[in-house]
Amino acid sequence: MDLKDWFASRQKRRDTLVVKQPLTTEEYCALWTSCFQCRELIYTRDLRANNHVCPKCQFHFRIGANQRIEQLLDTDSFVEIDRALTSADPLEFKDTDTYVNRLAEAKRKSGLNEAIICGTGTIDGQKLALAVMEFGHFGGSMGSVVGEKVTRTVELALEEKLPVVIISSSGGARMQEGILSLMQMAKTSSALQELHKQGLLYISILTEPTFGGVTASFAMLGDIIIAEPGARIGFAGQRVIEQTIRQKLPADFQTAEYLMKHGQVDLVVERGKLRDMLAKLLTSHSPNKNQTKHPVENQKTASSRR
C-alpha cells in the first residue's frame, strides 16, 4: 500500500542523505537543509522564507498543517473547531504494538490531537471553511476523527453558506479503526453531496502524498482540484500496481503533472502562488459575482486590505 511505499522511499532518501552530508554538528544541520531532489544545500531560513520550496529546483518540501494555514489565511483570521476531538480505540486494535500506544506516539511527534486541523478563516477578507490534513500525524490517515472533522467542517459551511477548501495529505484510511475508517469515506462524501446540492464551492488541494481512501472520497470531489507540483497522488500504491500488472511504471506516474496530463486535476499551482489563486477563485465564485461592474478592481482593493 501507499504508506509502505512512502516509508520505503523516505528511508531511501534518508540513507542517501547520510552518505551525502558532510560530517557536521547538529547546529550545522539545523542551519542548512539539503534538497531531497537536487541535493542543493539551502540556508534553512531562506527555505522557510520561500514557503519551503527549493529555490534551485522548485522541489516542494512537505510542510505541516499549521504552516499551511499560516501561509494561506489572513493573519489571525483562523478560528479552529473541534481541536480537542481525539481518537478512541473502538476495535481495541493491536498489531506489533497497540493502537493506543501508536496514537500517543503520533500525538507526541506531531503535537496535534489528530491528522487534520479544521476551522474557518479568511483569504483576502473572504470567509471560508478550511480543513488541512497533517501527514506528520499518523501518516495523515483517516479514521473516525478525521472523517468526523471533515464532515463537521462541511456542515459548518452549509450552515454559514461558506465555500470549502480541503488540503489533503494522507496515506489513506486508518487500518487500526477497521471498517469504521472505511465508512468515513461515505460519511464525508455524503456531506459533500449536501454541499454540492446547495451550490456551494468546494476546492480540493492535493499535496504530497494523497492516496487510498482519502483520494477516493473527498479529495477527488472538488469542484476545482488543485495539486502541488511534484505531489504524488493516486488510489493504489505503486508497489501494489507493479505487482498486479507485472510491469514497470513510468517515472512520473501518479505525480501532479501526470494527473494533469490525464485530466484529473484542474491546476498544478506552486505553493507560493496558491494563496493568490485561491483568492481569485473564491472571488470569481462568490455569490455576488457579475453584480459589480469591475470585478478586477474589486479584487485589488480586497487584496490591499490584507
Binding site: 479514521g143 471498517i179 481512501g213 477527488m220 470531489l221
Partner: protein, 323 residues
C-alpha cells in the same frame, strides 16, 4: 449462469470433517460387501458424530475460516443470485463512455413482485471468465456503469439492490489513468443523493473502497460468512506486521466478520447461510437473501424521497467513534 453442481471443494479447516466422512465411507463400503449388523451401529454413531462435529465446527469459525468461505471459488456470485431471483431479469450494459466492465453487472428485475434495479460485482467462474472479470475487481468504467444504473433507477423510481463480492477496485496503471479514485468518490457522493431506497449486501468479500463504491445504502446486510474490511488482511499484515504470514492476526484485529461488523453498527442484519456456506446450496442461499431483501424493501418503500435520502445520510453520519 448455472451453479457448479460439483461437490463443494473442502477448505483447510474442514479437514477433520473430511477425515470422518472418509472413515464412514470406507466402513459403508465394507458393509456393502459383507453385511455385519454389529458394525451398522458403529456407522450410525459415526454419522451422529459427523453431524455434531459439523454443527460445532461451523458455529465456532475463526475470522480466517470465514474469510476462506467468503473466498470459496464455488461461492455463488451476483449472476447466480440474479438468475435465481428472476430468471427473466434484463441485463443492462455499459458506462456509455466507451466500456462495459464485466466485473460489474446490473439490470432490471422483479424481486418478490417489486420492480428493482440490481447491481453487483462479478468474479467469474472459469479461468477465462475470471480473467475477464479481473477476479471481481472493477475498473473505473465498472463504477461508472454502476453509477449510470443508479441514476436510471433514481429517475424511474426503482429501488436498488447491490451485491458486493470484490477483493477491491482494480489496482492497475490504466485504472489510475482513468481515475479510479474519482470513479469511487463520485459514486459515494451520488449514492448519498439517491432518492430511491438502496440495500447493499456483502455476499463474499467486501474489499475496501472498491466495495463501498456500490455500498452507500440505507441498509447494509451481510451474509453469515462474508467479510468487510478497510484493506485486505494480506495488505494489513504486510504493512502493520511487515509479514505476509500474519494474515490470521490481521483478520482478527480488523474485526471484519459479519457479526463483528454488525456489532460496530455498520451492518444492519446478518443473513444466515446454508450449513457450511452458501456454496453448499445456491438455491437456499438465494432464497434466504431474497426474503430478507423483500422484507427490508417493503419497509423502505414507505418512505418519501426526502426521507429515504435523510435515512441514508443519518446512517452514515453516525458511524465512527471519537473521544
Amino acid at each position: 449462469m448455472p451453479a457448479p453442481e460439483k461437490k463443494p471443494a473442502p477448505l483447510e479447516f474442514e479437514a477433520p470433517l473430511l477425515a470422518l466422512s472418509g472413515q464412514i465411507e470406507t466402513l459403508e463400503k465394507q458393509l456393502a460387501d459383507n453385511p455385519n449388523p454389529d458394525l451398522d451401529e458403529d456407522v450410525r454413531r459415526l454419522k451422529e458424530q459427523y453431524n455434531h462435529l459439523r454443527q460445532t465446527l461451523y458455529t465456532n469459525l475463526r475470522p480466517l475460516d470465514h474469510l476462506a468461505i467468503a473466498r470459496h471459488p464455488q461461492r455463488p456470485y451476483s449472476r447466480d443470485y440474479f438468475g435465481r431471483w428472476d430468471p427473466n431479469w434484463i441485463e443492462l450494459h455499459g458506462d456509455r463512455k466507451g466500456a462495459d466492465d464485466p466485473a460489474m453487472v446490473g439490470g432490471l428485475m422483479q424481486l418478490d413482485g417489486m420492480d428493482i434495479m440490481v447491481v453487483g460485482t462479478q468474479k467469474g467462474r472459469a479461468l477465462r471468465d475470471k480473467q475477464q472479470c479481473n477476479f471481481g475487481m472493477p475498473q473505473p468504467e465498472g463504477y461508472r456503469k454502476a453509477l449510470r444504473l443508479f441514476r436510471h433507477a433514481d429517475k424511474f423510481g426503482f429501488p436498488i439492490v447491490t451485491l458486493i463480492d470484490t477483493p477491491g477496485a482494480y489496482p492497475g496503471m490504466t485504472a489510475e489513468e482513468h481515475n479510479q479514485s474519482e470513479a469511487i468518490a463520485l459514486n459515494l457522493r451520488e449514492m448519498a443523493g439517491l432518492t430511491v431506497p438502496v440495500i447493499s449486501v456483502i455476499t463474499g468479500e467486501g474489499g475496501s473502497g472498491g466495495a463501498l463504491a456500490i455500498g452507500v445504502a440505507n441498509r447494509i446486510l451481510m451474509l453469515e460468512h462474508s467479510v468487510y474490511s478497510v484493506i485486505s488482511p494480506e495488505g494489513c499484515a504486510s504493512i502493520l506486521w511487515r509479514s505476509a504470514d500474519k494474515v490470521s492476526q490481521a483478520c482478527q484485529a480488523m474485526k471484519m466478520t459479519a457479526r463483528e461488523i454488525k456489532a460496530l453498527k455498520v451492518c444492519d442484519e446478518v443473513i444466515g447461510e446454508p450449513l457450511g456456506g452458501a456454496h453448499h446450496n445456491f438455491d437456499l442461499a438465494a432464497d434466504n437473501l431474497k426474503k430478507a431483501l423483500a422484507r427490508h424493501l417493503k419497509d423502505l418503500v414507505k418512505l418519501s424521497k426526502e426521507e429515504v435520502r435523510q435515512d441514508r445520510y443519518n446512517k452514515f453520519r453516525q458511524i465512527g467513534v471519537v473521544a
